[in-house]
């Protein structure tokens, strides 16, 4: 372990890893009496995924999340594990995540680099990470450590990414978090897992207005109330922003309220107006919608990091609907 860590060495280690895996595969095939020439280890890569996490985070759980993402979003994963104390120090190791797709003979592998650094060495990370990113493919920075987003060095890391993903619900002050994200989004496309977690909610609400009769009544909506509890303020602001934007586009002029409510377990949305009454809320593992006299229910367990990141990694570049909601939510009083 030391302050100096060479990207060339990491890349050499990665190349050696692939060579050894190919040799091993070849030996295994020969041992099984199968020809080895045509088949080998398949390397799959569609992006570089840089994960910024606290060293104190459970490495097994995080490793499992990254491994689960790989089959759908094969990537060179660079896991940066940070500890706040200690001298300016960096260390690394390389390894591969492999899987055998169902019904197929070839093993597919993605490479992973893990770098441990102290906060004092944070400034050393961007010049180390930049040469490790895979050329010509997107670089996604997933910041799991909220405290880092406020640090100066975070801007340099974000600068090498084509997209930055954070989770604003883990940040203590919702209004400040949204403003910070808005600033970040000026330079780099941004994703927020607090918003990602609302996709099913939004889809369910959108589905209500696929019905022509209900769509015809949308302009009559006079009141929008989004109530929240605990850490769901950001989610509530996002929903209020997105819904009020949609209502205004349809000609409604709703009065918008976003407020804490001890009776609500996460978030509750209520729309009221001429000929239309809608409520949307979570009930345990289910998402419920009540529209006038009819109700709908869909199975929706609270999404984990894997589900949320899976969706985020499917988006290249900017997300205009999110950015509009972010701008609106940051401006909500």
């Amino acid at each position: 372990m030391g302050a100096a860590l060479s990207p060339e060495k990491v890349l050499r280690d990665l190349a050696a890893l692939w060579t050894s895996m190919a040799k091993q595969q070849s030996r295994d095939r020969e041992a099984a009496g199968e020809p080895s020439a045509a088949d080998g280890v398949l390397r799959a890569c569609t992006m570089t995924l840089v994960v910024l996490a606290e060293e104190s985070e459970d490495p097994t759980a995080l490793g499992e999340t990254i491994a689960a993402l790989m089959p759908e979003h094969p990537a060179r994963a660079i896991l940066l594990r940070l500890h706040p104390d200690g001298p300016r120090a960096l260390s690394e190791r390389v390894y591969a995540q492999c899987w055998m797709p169902f019904g197929q003979r070839r093993q597919v592998c993605c490479e992973q680099v893990e770098i441990t650094a102290s906060d004092a060495a944070l400034g050393d990370l961007p010049p180390l990470v930049l040469p490790l990113t895979v050329s010509d493919l997107p670089v996604i920075l997933w910041c799991r450590a909220p405290r880092l987003t406020g640090m100066l060095e975070f801007g340099a890391m974000a600068g090498i990414a084509t997209r930055v993903v954070v989770d604003s619900s883990a940040m203590p002050d919702a209004a400040r978090a949204l403003r910070l994200l808005q600033d970040l989004a000026r330079n780099t496309p941004v994703g927020d897992l607090a918003w990602t977690g609302l996709t099913r909610w939004r889809a369910m609400l959108s589905q209500v207005f696929e019905n022509r009769e209900r769509l015809a009544r949308i302009a009559g909506v006079a009141r929008l109330r989004v109530a929240f509890s605990g850490t769901y303020e950001t989610a509530a602001r996002y929903l209020a922003a997105w819904i009020s934007d949609g209502l205004r586009a349809a000609g409604a002029k709703p009065q918008v309220t976003v407020e804490p409510d001890a009776q609500v377990s996460t978030v509750r949305v209520e729309l009221e107006g001429r000929g239309l009454r809608l409520a949307l809320w979570r009930d345990g593992q289910r998402l419920m919608a009540q529209v006038d006299d009819s109700s709908q229910c869909t199975h929706l367990p609270p999404p984990g990091d894997y589900i949320l990141m899976r969706e985020e990694l499917g988006i290249d570049g900017r997300d205009p609907v999110f950015e509009a909601a972010l701008a609106e939510a940051a401006g909500l009083g």
Partner: protein, 506 residues
């Protein structure tokens, strides 16, 4: 009043699926049980269906709604290959399943269907939209469509669409007659002729590969491509469908529809946009450009085959003529190989070898595009005779694309060897690929006909295939001419050898 839902997010939401009732004629049949119901259940499982969704099954057998639900539950459990059975999802899905018995020849049945649909619409809020799916004998297509028309069901307060399965006629005249009869009730834009090959992920990927990338299209012509081989091989026999297959044969069952559609997708010109009509116009144009063959050309450029008995894997396998329901002197082709030529500037002179057969060594469907060799062999005698560059588009199994090219073997000297660069759909996008029926059913509900065949495409295919059929019917073949478990008759090898080519063994 707004006409567009303002709460759309196309980047994150799945495609909008309108409310509708799917009416399945032939609801207790094999197609419904094996393909349609598992596909619809999977769509429900993935939350792809609208809340206002219902299925009305129609068949001759009297059944209650509940008995029908039980049968469909069994079918979904038995035939959903990669979808977990979720009791909660099933309960919600089954609440939208309804059944009525009736005969297509009985006009009263359609009147009852109209009443049933009105009830279902009120109970399930299906918005007046209806998709009529004919999973029945082809001879019943026209009577079913005419019955729907007579009962006023082809029009309503929502959209009305008709889905028909192949075969679309048994020759050019009968396909025209069928279209004419369907058009008496449904306009062509509302007729969805399903060809499940076009719903396969890799077939759609051909379009992405060709027209989403700039690097392949410049090579996609007679100057760089030597020839194309399209193979659809099945390792199984007729599996109890002997009497049906005896009437159809490999040429009509596979080449006229599936494989010519695949060939058209592979060889068509770029469309102006990715709209249903723009893509289908180009496919149709390509099919119309297939050179019609004279009887002499047919004898030279086509090979029919029929499998004989063999012993495979220690088991005796019957020949086609020994299969139940098959005439002991049957002249039906269980194998067909055809060399097509496309008469346009891009493809003039490039042979498209298309083959299909039953009881071949393995189940595989692929397109192999063989490129011309480098114009000059500069690496010495030891490097001559190496395989040419090949682009393989695998449609099933293991959907994907491979590029085989030559590279220097590591070490001293300049020795070349073929290497393979692979894109595998399953491994590059670990997500499960939807089945062809899921894709196509959803497309029909949404109203996207891009992957459906149009009347002019069907007619152009028949125009290419019918002359071959005529010559084959008027020839007494010395069948069987290939043993089960082999790659077809030797005459098919000879057909390629005449052009200096050999069939790939996929």
């Amino acid at each position: 009043m707004p006409t567009e839902n303002p709460f759309q997010d196309p980047l994150r939401f799945e495609r909008r699926v309108p409310e509708c009732a799917v009416v399945i004629f032939g609801a207790t049949g094999d197609l419904t049980r094996r393909k349609l119901m598992p596909a619809l259940y999977r769509l429900a499982y993935d939350r792809r269906l609208s809340a206002g969704f219902a299925i009305v099954g129609i068949s001759r057998r009297p059944l209650s709604d509940d008995a029908f639900r039980d049968q469909m539950r069994e079918a979904v459990q038995q035939f959903s290959e990669d979808t977990p059975f979720d009791e909660g999802v099933w309960r919600a899905f089954a609440a939208g399943l309804f059944y009525m018995s009736g005969d297509i020849g009985d006009g009263g049945m359609f009147e009852r269907l109209a009443r049933k649909l009105a009830e279902v619409e009120a109970a399930r809020h299906t918005g007046g939209n209806a998709l009529f799916y004919l999973a029945i004998q082809p001879s019943q297509y026209a009577p079913a469509a005419l019955g729907l028309g007579a009962a006023g069901l082809a029009k309503g307060n929502g959209w009305r669409r008709l889905v028909v399965e192949k075969p679309f006629g048994h020759d050019l005249a009968s396909s025209r007659q069928l279209s004419d009869e369907l058009h008496r009730v449904f306009p062509e834009s509302e007729v969805y002729r399903i060809d499940h090959y076009l719903g396969k992920e890799t077939v759609q990927n051909i379009l992405a590969f060709r027209f989403g990338n700039g690097i392949f299209e410049p090579l996609w012509n007679r100057r760089y491509i030597d020839h194309v081989q399209i193979t659809a091989a099945e390792s199984i026999g007729v599996e109890g469908r002997g009497s049906y297959y005896q009437e159809a044969g490999a040429l009509a069952d596979m080449i006229q529809n599936h494989l010519l559609q695949v060939m058209a997708t592979m060889a068509m010109e770029p469309s102006a946009g990715f709209t249903a009509d723009a893509v289908r116009d180009e496919r149709a144009k390509l099919l119309r450009s297939i050179k019609p063959m004279t009887p002499d050309e047919i004898r030279c450029n086509t090979v029919p085959g029929q499998y004989g008995p063999a012993r495979i894997g220690g088991e005796d396998v019957p020949g086609f003529r020994q299969e139940p329901g098959v005439d002991a002197q049957s002249q039906t082709d269980t194998y067909a190989a055809v060399t097509f030529f496309v008469e346009n500037w891009r493809w003039a002179g490039v042979p498209f070898y298309v083959r299909t057969g039953k009881r071949l060594p393995k189940r595989v469907t692929e397109i192999a595009i063989q490129f011309r060799r480098a114009p000059l062999a500069i690496f010495g005698k030891e490097n001559t005779g190496l395989p040419p560059d090949l682009l393989i588009v695998r449609i099933q199994p293991e959907e994907g694309i491979s590029l085989k090219f030559l590279a220097k073997r590591p070490g001293a000297g300049m020795h070349l060897r073929p290497v393979s660069m692979d894109f595998n759909y399953g491994t590059s996008f670990g997500e499960r690929s939807p089945s062809a029926y899921e894709t196509l059913l959803l497309d029909a509900i949404i109203g996207d006909a891009t992957l459906y065949t149009r009347q002019d495409m069907v007619e152009a295919s028949w125009a290419a295939v019918e002359p071959i059929q005529d010559v084959w019917r008027n020839t007494a073949w010395n069948f069987p001419n290939y043993a089960a478990g082999t790659w077809g008759p030797p005459e098919a090898d000879a057909m390629l050898a005449r052009n200096g080519h050999v069939w790939r063994k996929p």
